[in-house]
């Protein structure tokens, strides 16, 4: 039962550390940091002709990211995360588990979030919730020799593409203001993303990716 007290103490310390923090209506801020994007994959089965339960999984990836935020009111913000895209390996799963990477792809989630920030604009600790939309764009998708070996051995290279999607995203986060200009932003998002991979052989693979991100960034208020 000691923990709640120490958390309270830390919060108290933070709230007394400074004053006149400002993220009030009309303010613009930007942050840079790192984002880890981790898909939570539920793979469908590759359509016929294929080994039953031919599935795939996608690994996580971390990239430097940024965000631009605009306070519409003292509590409502619009946030646009910025990034250069995440590199992912698509690996065999299910009946083809163990074959390694069958494709590589880059994913660029273009997201627009509305946030509700609790507490007063000058509070040191401002938790927030957000919701918005993500346009998931897949590019530079390349099948490996393994993909060809499994789908068309000895034949022309099998290529594939993933369908771009516009999907909802929700967010939980918190701002810790160091002073009137600098702050730390940490947040978690969940995006409800399903996509379909289409192979040049005509086969398709539905995948629920439902990626979550964890972002930590240092921000500056203009």
């Amino acid at each position: 039962m000691k923990t709640p007290y120490s958390i309270l103490a830390a919060a108290a310390l933070l709230t007394t550390a400074g004053a006149a923090m400002a993220q009030q209506a009309g303010s613009l801020s930007a942050s840079i940091g790192f984002t880890n994007l981790s898909p939570s994959v539920t793979s469908g089965n590759l359509t016929a002709p294929s080994l039953p339960n031919t599935q795939a999984t996608v690994n996580s990836n971390s990239q430097p990211t940024g965000a631009v935020n605009y306070m519409v009111t003292n509590n409502i913000a619009i946030s646009v995360p910025l990034g250069l895209g995440f590199k992912h390996n698509v690996s065999g799963a299910g009946a083809i588990a163990g074959v390694g990477t069958i494709a590589t792809t880059k994913a660029l989630p273009i997201t627009l979030l509305g946030q509700y920030r609790f507490m007063a604009p000058d509070a040191q600790f401002r938790p927030y919730v957000g919701a918005g939309v993500t346009y998931a764009k897949f590019y530079d998708t390349n099948g490996t020799g393994v993909l060809t070996a499994l789908t068309n051995p000895g034949g022309p290279a099998t290529t594939l593409s993933f369908q771009n999607k516009l999907v909802p995203t929700i967010q939980l986060g918190a701002i810790i203001n160091f002073n009137a200009k600098w702050y730390l932003d940490a947040n978690y998002t969940k995006t409800f993303l399903s996509t379909t991979g289409t192979l040049s052989t005509g086969q398709t693979l539905n995948m629920k990716l439902n990626p979550s991100t964890i972002t930590i960034g240092i921000g500056y208020k203009f």
Partner: protein, 420 residues
């Protein structure tokens, strides 16, 4: 001096590792491998043109499938996928055609060896025994001076025809294929070869023939059925075949016991050959396919429920002995074609198959000089309709699509084993 010794030893072992290491996966269409070539042993399932001569070649046949310029055996697909030299048959020829065929205008060719070619697989080959379906060995035995149980040449020919289509295939046993390779390469593998082996189905066929011949003689003893029983037992490779010259009620069970022992011996022989003639000679990547479920082929189905059950038991006897013998051997990857084939039969749509019971090759087409046989079957001699996604070309051999499914499953297992 001691330091030098260590250094030399270390350098030598580094060389060995470099020489035998596998490659990593590339992003190109082919797998980036350390394999220098494909070496294939086996039977018709791996044969890429041993008998592609004379009339067979003239009609556009040569492989045991629905032949066409683009039809490939699974070993050819794997060679292309692994970017190793295109395989070629180590021996060609059809030198022992029966007079009944040659008089009908069927042309063969003398046997030729190609010592730089690495596909040794021949249609009808057994593991050790030379008496194979449609083989010259069977034919020569009957047509020669030693027709067992007496009889004339004509009767011998008809017995040969009933023991298997009389074609006079060389059907060099797998053990001989392996020895020929060693001769061709100076006695040792380089450890850079991917070796493929599928064999044993013809041992099952000849043992089934033996059982059937004995059962026929028991059911209706006559000079020809008794002669057939003795020949069937001889060709199966059983000891004391002459005991079936006086068939009794217990002869069938005796024959069945002999058949099970024989297919298990074939599997044991194959394991021994793999150990002594392949692994012990330096091969490090040997992929062995077990027998597909022969009872599910059109041939197996044609035997009726009881015959199919016996076929399946013989197949399983071979496979279990093979698996036990290869278990734990370093450098060997056993691929379960039996279970995979059953999966394809059970879920044809999943595999893109439109038919898993009917042969694509017509048994009546005038365009096929060996009507029904896939060796001379082409797109011009298939049954009506789209047979491109049939599993079977004839009663036992896959269509090109069937071979592609085998290649896909093989590559999956090769890659999963890190052999890529």
């Amino acid at each position: 001096m001691k330091k030098w010794t260590w250094a030399v030893a270390a350098a030598a072992s580094a060389l060995v590792v470099a020489g035998c290491g596998g490659g990593g996966g590339g992003t190109a269409s082919t797998n980036n491998t350390g394999f220098s070539q494909l070496v294939s042993f086996g039977d018709s399932l791996s044969d890429i043109g041993t008998y592609n001569v004379g009339t067979v070649a003239a009609v556009g046949g040569g492989k045991f499938t629905v032949n066409s310029p683009t039809a490939k055996n699974w070993t050819q697909l794997i060679a292309a996928q692994y970017n190793v030299p295109t395989p070629c048959p180590a021996q060609t020829g059809l030198a022992n055609l029966l007079p009944s065929l040659t008089s009908a205008g069927f042309v063969g060719a003398a046997t030729q060896n190609f010592s730089s070619c690495r596909n040794y697989a021949q249609g009808s080959s057994r593991v050790t025994v030379q008496y194979a379906p449609y083989s010259a060995a069977v034919q020569n035995y009957i047509v020669g001076a030693t027709v067992q149980g007496g009889g004339t040449l004509a009767q011998g020919q008809s017995a040969a025809a009933s023991a298997g289509f009389a074609l006079g295939l060389s059907a060099v046993p797998v053990v001989t294929q392996m020895n020929t390779h060693l001769t061709n390469v100076g006695g040792a593998y380089t450890c850079k070869e991917l070796v493929t082996i599928i064999a044993g189905a013809n041992d099952v066929f000849m043992n089934l023939n033996g059982i059937n011949a004995v059962a026929t003689a028991v059911a209706g003893p006559s000079q020809s059925t008794i002669q057939g029983a003795v020949l069937g037992a001889t060709f199966a490779g059983w000891t004391n075949p002459n005991q079936y010259a006086s068939p009794s009620a217990s002869s069938v069970s005796t024959a069945q016991a002999a058949a099970f022992a024989a297919v298990q011996q074939a599997a044991t022989d194959l394991v021994t050959d793999i150990k002594t003639l392949v692994l012990a000679k330096g091969a490090t990547h040997v992929v062995v396919g077990n027998l597909p479920d022969i009872s599910q082929t059109p041939y197996g189905i044609s035997l009726g429920a009881q015959g199919a059950a016996l076929t399946q038991q013989l197949t399983l006897a071979f496979n279990s002995t093979l698996a036990a013998g290869l278990n734990g051997l370093s450098g060997v990857l056993l691929v379960d074609l039996y279970t995979q084939g059953q999966s394809e039969t059970a879920n044809p749509v999943q595999y893109g198959l439109t038919n898993v019971t009917t042969p694509a090759c017509s048994t009546t087409s005038a365009a096929n000089p060996l009507q029904g046989s896939s060796l001379t079957c082409t797109a011009a001699s298939t049954i009506a309709g789209d047979t491109s996604h049939y599993q079977y070309a004839d009663t036992v051999h896959p269509t090109p699509y069937g071979y592609q499914l085998i290649a896909q499953f093989m590559t999956l297992k090769l890659i999963a084993a890190g052999w890529q």
